[in-house]
């Protein structure tokens, strides 16, 4: 696959075996063009972006701001705040919108499928402000209990829901979730950390109010992410962090703030990272995402069928729109041991609670082994993975 050649790391060997990287739900690899863009930035334009006159500062600003432009175009969004990642983006909503708009007695609806990053900020807010949290249960078939969801909306000011589960790969029925929420007057935050890598989302069309995601899960660099915000909701938000660049004026008696996205971007921003992320979007724009996704979900489906036929429990369903994540538990081999054994053959998988303990609790388990596939993974790699699993099972099972 020619696409693989764009990723230098895929040429690496691990423990004497070619790397088979199946930990993409944790973070994806970066194509060479992303590294090149960041290098070019550092080697010819590096400078700070605050209101500046000199050439380098102009280039740096253009590089940084073109990331915002790219985000708005790619996702069709009014407002794109650049953050350090999904986690900061969600915390930003909890502080900047939540503390300005919620009071004791209000409710927030979460789901049991959420990542800790979409739970803990709300727990902290709930404790501070006396806000009630309601968790939508996950059913036996790994989907949300939509009846319970509908019933939970009364009095809810905000619904927080994961676009695609990082454990199950299940893509939630966002269209229905958003419609019901809005019918109830609740805003909706989408944790799209696992959604944006495999599905091109039209934010405005989705009618969501907030959407959070990270660059590093979509071929971009570490240290950067974004929060998309509906234009009207944006106006109801108070600053989160204070500092340089987010102010209009500062006096010893008080300050006034910017009224655009800079209001939420205090301090020197992640400039090189923004430049790198732009290059990732450029690279992704040349990929036929729906076609690739189709290929990947077929691979995931095949893998999960193989595993089930070996008597292994697989957590997920691998529907058309789900992501190519295969979470499983071996009946005989402890997950951690299994991951070490895979690693000895160059195969990278993740084990543990995947930052989704409430979901695992609901599933009655404490962790899984997770193999997650992305653009550069091949059917050949999937076959090697299954083959190794069979060999390992024979030898250690």
């Amino acid at each position: 696959m020619a696409l693989r050649d764009d990723f230098p790391i895929l040429k690496r060997e691990v423990n004497g075996y070619p790397l088979i990287y199946l930990d993409n739900a944790a973070t994806t690899q970066k194509p060479q063009v992303v590294l090149d863009a960041m290098n070019a930035y550092y080697m010819s334009s590096n400078s700070n972006v605050h209101r500046a006159v000199h050439t380098l500062a102009g280039e740096a600003t253009e590089g940084y701001e073109s990331c915002r432009t790219r985000l708005k175009e790619w996702f069709n969004a009014d407002r794109a705040v650049i953050t350090s990642g999904t986690t900061e983006a969600i915390n930003l909503v909890a502080h900047a919108w939540g503390r300005a708009n919620l009071t004791a007695g209000d409710a927030i609806v979460l789901t049991e499928m959420e990542h800790h990053s979409d739970i803990v900020p709300w727990q902290m807010l709930a404790e501070e402000r006396g806000v009630e949290l309601r968790y939508v249960p996950v059913l036996e078939d790994f989907t949300l209990d939509m009846e319970a969801y509908a019933a939970s909306l009364d009095g809810a000011k905000l619904v927080c829901v994961v676009h695609t589960s990082n454990v199950l790969g299940v893509r939630n029925p966002l269209e229905e979730i958003i419609e019901l929420a809005h019918g109830n007057g609740s805003l909706v935050l989408i944790d799209a950390a696992q959604g944006v890598p495999h599905e091109r989302i039209d934010f405005k069309h989705s009618k969501a109010d907030f959407m959070a995601f990270s660059a590093h899960k979509m071929c971009g660099p570490t240290g950067i992410g974004a929060l998309l915000i509906d234009g009207d909701v944006f106006e109801t938000m108070q600053p989160f962090m204070g500092g340089g660049d987010m102010i209009e004026t500062v006096t010893v008696n008080g300050s006034t703030f910017q009224n655009n996205e800079h209001k939420f971007e205090a301090g020197t921003p992640r400039i090189a990272e923004a430049v790198g992320w732009c290059a990732a979007f450029d690279w992704l724009s040349k990929i036929n995402l729906p076609e690739e996704h189709n290929r990947l979900i077929k691979i995931a489906r095949w893998v999960s069928e193989q595993l089930r036929s070996m008597g292994i429990s697989v957590y997920g369903r691998h529907d058309e729109k789900d992501s190519a994540v295969v979470s499983f538990l071996h009946p005989k081999i402890h997950s951690e041991d299994l991951a070490h054994l895979f690693d000895s053959r160059g195969i990278a998988v993740r084990t543990g609670h995947h930052c989704a303990q409430p979901l695992l609790h609901r599933l009655g388990i404490s962790g899984t082994v997770r193999a997650s596939f992305y653009l550069y993974n091949t059917m050949d790699e999937a076959e090697k993975f299954v083959e190794q699993l069979k060999l390992i099972t024979e030898r250690f099972g």
Partner: protein
Amino acid sequence: MTYPAELTELIEEFQDVDDKMERLEMVFDLSDEVIPLPPSAWTQESKVHGCQSEAHVKVELQDGKVILLSGADAKLVQGLMGILSIAINGTAPAQALLLSPDFAEEMGILNSLSPSRSNGFRNMFDKVMRDIRMLV
């Protein structure tokens, strides 16, 4: 796009000059072209936000033609106001609204003008166009 004859001429003049400092000097000189908006008339309404320095503009219609009054404390900004004045003063609003801000780039001055977070020139240009739209 096509520009008013005077602006086209100006663009060509700028393009003939290689040295950036000289181009800046030419812009400075064009600060004389503004119809002054004296500091005493600077108000919150006239202020261009996002400029590093003070910059103020006011658009009026005289006999249905655009008149731009402006003032700034930085000479470069005032020079840009001068260029904008050359481009739109005396034209019909509909004509003025056709102008794109690209001319500043074509003149090779925009990139010495910091396409900064809060690009002063762009903000000024946008404010002038907004003000024109509000008058018609």
